[in-house]
């Protein structure tokens, strides 16, 4: 899972959001590292919808334009959790690294 996808899913952990709110939330939870442009955001949402990892929760009209809300599905939550576990395990390889004892010099 690529970083924009991961943080798009993570942005939806606290409940349904619309496109702009997802981008802002992803930026916040990634400490500013992931700044989703609109094209990237909607490409990610399109693929996540196709895979059933997010679903459209509802729609409202704001200033004459449709605004859709997206929510994390059960499958999306599981995929996000699996990715978090994978990243955590990968990180622990480095963070909990115990150096091997230096080999004894040959005599």
């Amino acid at each position: 899972m690529r970083e924009p996808t991961y943080f798009t899913l993570a942005a939806l952990l606290d409940g349904p959001l619309h496109g702009y709110a997802i981008a802002k939330r992803a930026e916040l939870v990634s400490a500013g590292r992931v700044q989703l442009a609109a094209g990237t955001l909607y490409a990610a949402l399109e693929r996540l919808l196709e895979r059933g990892l997010v679903a459209v929760e509802g729609e409202e009209v704001v200033r004459g334009r449709a605004r859709r809300y997206y929510r994390l599905t059960a499958a999306g939550g599981e995929a996000l959790q699996a990715e978090a576990t994978r990243l955590s395990e990968a990180a622990s390889v480095v963070s909990s690294h115990i150096p091997l004892p230096a080999p004894e010099p040959a005599t």
Partner: protein
């Protein structure tokens, strides 16, 4: 409508029409909020929309499968080659008409002596060399494969039999003293004419039964290319379309894998035409273009093999 929204609406044209109908307003609303009141469009947003739009088109036409990527890439390459072949022949007719018959010289040009007037028979053959690729390109626009394959085979057959000259080198070959160079040019011409048939056969076998249709506006491309080339021809820049193609690949390959396949499939026959000119020609820039084109072929080949062996994600380039 603000200036930013106008630009974003234009960038949204990169998406398929059905996608725009479904999501266009929603994306514009999100962009409006991202703008935070600024009237100027963000280049980053424009680039993102354009690339995502082209990727979305690619994902729909290829079906996100490896076979689909190769098939659509080959069909696209065939289409480009047909347009280039038509443009090249149209260029010769325009050259003949403008310079030799009407005596109009482009500012700075000295081409009156370069292009002697063609005979009526040669002109008629060049017209055939325009019509066949154009009919084939029209059929590709309609999503057909059989007609363009037939036209391509017919044009290549007529060319090999000596019945027509494609126009890619017509007007030059009579003045080329070296036999090998003339033969090399003719081989390049035959390849450019025959390649669409071969590529479309790959497209038919590897892709869906009916190819995606394209806008008929693409048929205007040969006219624009021929007119532009007339202008550049006068200043001796005769191979700018190939140079543009090479540069364009670096962008295209990053956007969608089927564009990389297409660029590769176009460059191979195009190089067959370009290299003899680089070797036999006198212009330094032609050597430079040949070197860049050669390096590009290697780069494209490595990317194409990466696609073939699964190192590139095809179904969702962004996710």
């Amino acid at each position: 409508m603000t200036a930013a929204e106008s630009v974003y609406r234009l960038a949204l044209r990169a998406y398929p029409a059905s996608y725009r109908r479904e999501r266009g307003d929603e994306i514009l609303a999100t962009l409006d909020e991202m703008q935070a009141g600024s009237p100027r469009p963000s280049p980053r947003q424009v680039a993102s929309l354009t690339m995502s739009g082209v990727r979305e088109r690619g994902a729909r036409t290829t079906g996100g499968t490896r076979a689909g990527v190769w098939a659509e890439g080959c069909r696209l390459a065939a289409f480009v080659l047909l347009l280039l072949a038509a443009a090249a022949s149209l260029f010769v007719i325009a050259l003949d008409t403008w310079y030799s018959r009407l005596g109009i010289v482009w500012p700075g040009g000295d081409n009156v002596t370069y292009a002697p007037a063609m005979g009526t028979g040669a002109l008629a053959r060049s017209i055939v060399a325009v019509v066949l690729p154009l009919v084939a390109a029209w059929a590709v626009c309609r999503g057909r494969s059989a007609i363009p394959i037939a036209c391509s085979v017919l044009a290549a057959g007529l060319f090999v039999s000596g019945a027509i000259g494609t126009g890619l080198v017509a007007g030059q070959s009579s003045q080329l003293g070296q036999e090998w160079l003339r033969n090399a040019y003719q081989l390049g011409d035959a390849l450019v004419l025959a390649a669409p048939a071969a590529l479309l056969c790959v497209g038919v076998r590897g892709g869906r039964q009916r190819a995606a249709s394209r806008s008929m506006l693409w048929l205007a491309v040969p006219v624009v290319l021929a007119v532009l080339r007339i202008g550049f021809f006068a200043s001796s820049i005769t191979f700018w379309p190939l140079g543009a193609l090479v540069l364009g690949w670096f962008v295209a390959a990053r956007v969608s894998p089927h564009l990389a396949v297409a660029a590769f499939a176009v460059l191979v026959p195009a190089l067959a035409y370009l290299l003899p000119t680089a070797i036999g020609g006198a212009m330094m820039y032609e050597y430079a273009i040949a070197v860049v084109a050669g390096a590009s072929v290697l780069a494209i080949a490595s990317l194409a093999s990466a696609i073939a062996f699964g190192d590139v994600e095809l179904d969702d380039p962004l996710v």
